[in-house]
């Protein structure tokens, strides 16, 4: 059998979760950029400010998500809490609200 089929599943858990954090945070940053571009005609500088706030939260979640699985040898998992999940959830709520705001704001 190959090394992969005999390896303990415990070892892959932190890495898999870290990758999940990274791709979700990156998708959030990309989505925020698209929404900022789309809503900039209606919201102007407000769209840029909202994008900076959203992207900042997503970057914070990316860094937190990375750091807590960056393990030392022998360490199984670092102590985690709800700060990173909250930051990323808030970023995505802000993203949806930005687009909703652009939707209800009268255009030129």
């Amino acid at each position: 059998m190959s090394e992969f089929t005999t390896a303990s599943p415990r070892g892959a858990q932190p890495e898999r979760t870290a990758l999940s954090w990274q791709r979700t945070a990156l998708a959030s940053i990309a989505g925020a950029a698209v929404i900022a571009r789309h809503s900039s005609e209606t919201l102007g500088v407000v769209a840029l400010l909202l994008f900076l706030g959203t992207a900042g939260l997503a970057v914070a979640a990316f860094v937190l998500g990375w750091h807590r699985y960056d393990l030392s040898p022998g360490e199984t998992a670092r102590r985690r809490d709800g700060r990173a999940p909250f930051a990323l959830a808030l970023a995505i709520v802000a993203m949806a609200l930005t687009e909703l705001l652009a939707l209800v704001t009268p255009g030129d």
């Binding site: 858990q13 989505g31 929404i35 709800g82 909250f86 990323l88 995505i92 709520v93």
Partner: protein, 121 residues
């Protein structure tokens, strides 16, 4: 028992669960967030693509999808926290509750309207 981990109502009591379950709970939370990103993208797409229907209907559909984009991350965070708390207390996991019903109904509604618009009109 005091704790510096946030939120305290999750971490102040109970025992640390098997980390594999805790990580699986996080990945489920992140999957909900990615689902939300798809809903938001759909909300923008409905607004951008010209379906040849009235502006009011377009704005209504877009607002429904974007509204889910606001509700779903908040509910997903609460679901994650309740599941983490339940695991620490070794109690049954909480159900998804109304979120799954609301999400399914709204997505089906928007899909049905778009299907009628694209296929029939």
């Amino acid at each position: 028992m005091s704790t510096d981990r946030w939120p305290a109502w999750v971490y102040a009591e109970g025992d640390e669960p098997d980390f594999r379950f805790s990580l699986a709970n996080e990945r489920t939370f992140l999957a909900w967030l990615r689902t939300t990103l798809a809903l938001i993208a759909a909300g923008v797409a409905v607004n951008v693509i010209d379906f040849g229907i009235s502006e009011g209907v377009v704005h209504g559909l877009s607002a429904l999808l974007l509204g889910l984009g606001v509700i779903t991350p908040a509910t997903a965070f609460v679901r994650w926290a309740r599941a983490e708390r339940a695991m620490r207390h070794e109690t049954p996991l909480p159900s998804m509750g109304a979120l799954a019903v609301v999400l399914t109904c709204v997505v089906l509604l928007v899909a049905a309207i778009l299907a009628v618009v694209v296929v029939v009109l």
